[in-house]
Symmetry: C2
Subunit: 243 residues, 2 copies
DNA sequence: CGCTTAGTTGAAGCGAATCAAAACTAGTGG
DNA sequence: CCACTAGTTTTGATTCGCTTCAACTAAGCG
């Protein structure tokens, strides 16, 4: 929601070697040569919570890879209504393909936490795509995954009750956090505040709050403060997420 | 919703030449050689309204191209709740990429009208993808478009009122019909019944019906029967679709 | 012409939104 | 350390839009 300025740096050519997601994401499937070429055109960017990355125009077609932090893909209306259409965790990427409107059109990436991005300018990235079909192959694979997930979310938004939405959301985040942190502990922090949760599952903050409270009262969740989840009864939470 | 059996035929090698979508869709960008190879592995299928095409398992990863008719991509729950996650018109295609779960997982394609499909078995299609990067390129482009549209629909499902949903739906279909028929006339038939409209925009049939009636009463729509639209006041309909 | 299915209309109920206020949190500076 | 402020979350009371339930009408078809 706030200003745009962000730190942008070109790092040394071996920076990918120490990248947290060197072996995941797009990069995981690439040879040293391919990585080197990517490295040559990348612009690394850091954003603070609330800052936006690109909204429209030529830039909107850049290819963006999240290396650390959490971001949300937002579509908003003039009247204040907002819908989050996806979350981006480390190793997720968006945009990129050389077609008329990239998936970023009319959307914007907004940092939720401190965020680090690898941004690949569209024109130079396209050239690489032609040269290395494997990169395009990987991107297609991810795009189909995202499409699948978007359609899952359509079911949530269109057909689930508030209770089910909240439960589904918590399960989704819990899984993401388990993947990210690789921790077996049930304990983790919600990356989103109530406003953002509401905007992600199509409810109001009050309704979200009420249903989280209900889950706590019923012993399905144990929390510490409004963001830290200490324990989850997955079996019962899954039941409440409803199909 | 009904049984599965369908007519499947292998046609002569030049059948693509006379296909209605030879110059659109995936096929439009392909050379004669590429088309010939596709032709060699395609299974053409006809479905009647209500019939389903694949649901799960290995088949679910086939690549499917609609050549005529309208289909819906459906995700349903055990308890009867249903969400349509996309419509398929001639030249649309789904599935195909060689990744873990294709976008078809847990979805099914259901014929809305008489439907003709080109089905490409996954394994043989994958081989072609490797050989002809242009095919994969085209598919990626389409996947990104679909992803964009799915996210647009998430906004509709999560943040729009019933009135706005109905208006948005009508605008969407009107545009599709204009593309398909190439007719300048305002008149066209809704491909979906009330149940299906409701399942597409996350409402009940009663609410859909009420809001269509309201649009008619207000003179925004002129209809003949429950499926034929004779005239649309696009300006006012667009206003009611709300952003 | 009855039979079945799809669509419309009405009345009542309910779940989520809205409006309003209190409780908590976190940050700042005295 | 506490007082003060701003922002977030929780809780409560009320309203409203959509769903539900039910009856009726229209359309397609043997």
């Amino acid at each position: 929601m706030s200003a745009h300025s962000a730190v942008s740096l070109r790092f040394d050519p071996n920076v990918c070697d120490t990248c947290a997601i060197r072996h995941a994401s797009l990069c995981g499937a690439l040879s040293r040569d391919e990585i080197a070429e990517l490295n040559a055109i990348v612009v690394r960017t850091k954003l603070s919570p609330g800052q936006l990355h690109v909204i429209e125009g030529e830039q909107a077609r850049d290819f963006v890879n999240v290396t650390s932090g959490t971001a949300k893909l937002v579509r908003g209306a003039e009247d204040g209504r907002t819908q989050i259409v996806g979350l981006l965790f480390p190793s997720d990427f968006v945009g990129g393909a050389g077609n008329a409107h990239s998936e970023l059109d009319f959307h914007s990436i907004e940092a939720v936490t401190e965020l680090e991005l690898c941004v690949f300018p569209r024109d130079r990235f396209d050239a690489l795509l032609e040269k290395y079909p494997m990169i395009e192959h990987r991107i297609l694979s991810k795009a189909l995954n995202d499409l699948h997930q978007a359609r899952e979310w359509m079911v949530l938004l269109g057909r689930k009750t508030a209770q089910e939405k909240v439960a589904s959301f918590l399960l989704y985040v819990a899984e993401k956090m388990r993947n990210e942190g690789c921790k077996e502990a049930d304990s983790f922090n919600l990356p989103l505040g109530r406003v953002e949760i509401a905007d992600y599952i199509g409810l109001t903050i009050e309704t979200v709050s009420r249903h989280i409270t209900k889950l706590k009262k019923d012993g399905v969740l144990v929390m510490d403060g409004s963001k830290t989840i200490k324990q989850i009864d997955y079996e019962r939470l899954t039941k409440r997420a409803g199909f």
